[in-house]
């Protein structure tokens, strides 16, 4: 997926420049609550359960300070991504054991037009594998700057 296409799935109201959470479970809930506040999902408990089950399958902390909690749920109608940054870092049981600073929560419905869910995950992994992108994201404060990093402009 092209980076400009990926950028369309982010929203200003799902951007958290400074996460308050200090623990994994709280970080997941804090990001999920951005979707709940904007009424993008109907049932918080069901989606929270799905995200917990996803962590049971394996931590979505992919290493190098990055986590991409994700999943499909019947309680959502659209594919959307929330971004959160934690300056202090959070123990997320990441595969390299290091604290996570950058969080991308991807929520998708059971089926979606264009089958974009897996390509979105793939694009995120590719972008976040680059140290230069991670370094820029660590300093991001505004949604506008964030989108510029995602699109690579």
């Amino acid at each position: 997926m092209h980076r400009s296409e990926l950028a369309k799935y982010f929203k200003d109201n799902l951007f958290v420049a400074s996460l308050q959470a200090a623990k994994k479970e709280v970080a997941i809930a804090e990001l999920l609550d951005t979707f709940v506040r904007e009424k993008y999902i109907r049932n918080r408990d069901i989606v929270l359960e799905m995200l917990h089950q996803r962590e049971t399958l394996g931590s979505t902390g992919i290493g190098k300070g990055v986590a991409i909690p994700h999943g499909r749920t019947t309680a959502a109608a659209d594919v959307l991504i929330a971004f959160g940054k934690s300056d202090q870092g959070i123990d997320f049981d990441a595969i390299d054991g290091k604290p996570v600073h950058l969080f991308f929560m991807v929520i998708a419905p059971p089926n979606e037009e264009g089958n974009v869910y897996l390509p979105i995950l793939g694009s995120l992994v590719t972008i976040l594998n680059e140290k230069a992108n991670r370094d820029k994201l660590m300093k991001v404060e505004t949604f506008q700057d964030f989108i510029a990093i995602i699109t690579g402009e």
């Binding site: 069901i46 359960e49 019947t74 309680a75």
Partner: protein, 111 residues
């Protein structure tokens, strides 16, 4: 009680969707070391759903891949057919399980 059943079905399908794509997310580099635990969680959840409803879910899943689908703006997101307004009012209350008249999937109202 029905509301509970509907929520359990949604959670069950969410796990099934996850299981379905385990290979895909693993290829992307995600850890999937807890596959056995996830299957166990699926078994436990399905055991808490009434047998006739679970049978209905499994039958629809086998036939249509997605047994239960979201409804948004009165549109079934399984087949994109507009649902009658009359069932929308009741559907939002989660007190009965409605099915789409067109595709036959169970419906879960989002708005």
């Amino acid at each position: 009680m029905i509301k509970k059943d509907l929520e359990l079905l949604v959670s069950l399908q969410d796990i099934d969707l996850m299981i379905e794509e385990v290979g895909d997310v693993e290829k992307l580099g995600f850890s999937v070391t807890g596959y056995t635990e996830l299957k166990k969680a699926r078994e436990e959840l399905s055991a808490s759903i009434s047998k006739p409803l679970l049978f209905r879910y499994e039958r629809l899943r086998g036939k249509l891949k997605r047994a239960i689908v979201p409804v948004k703006n009165d549109i079934c997101l399984g087949c994109f057919l507009r649902q009658p307004t009359s069932i929308g009012v009741k559907g939002r209350e989660d007190e009965q399980i409605f099915t789409c008249e067109n595709c036959g999937r169970m419906l879960y109202w989002l708005d």
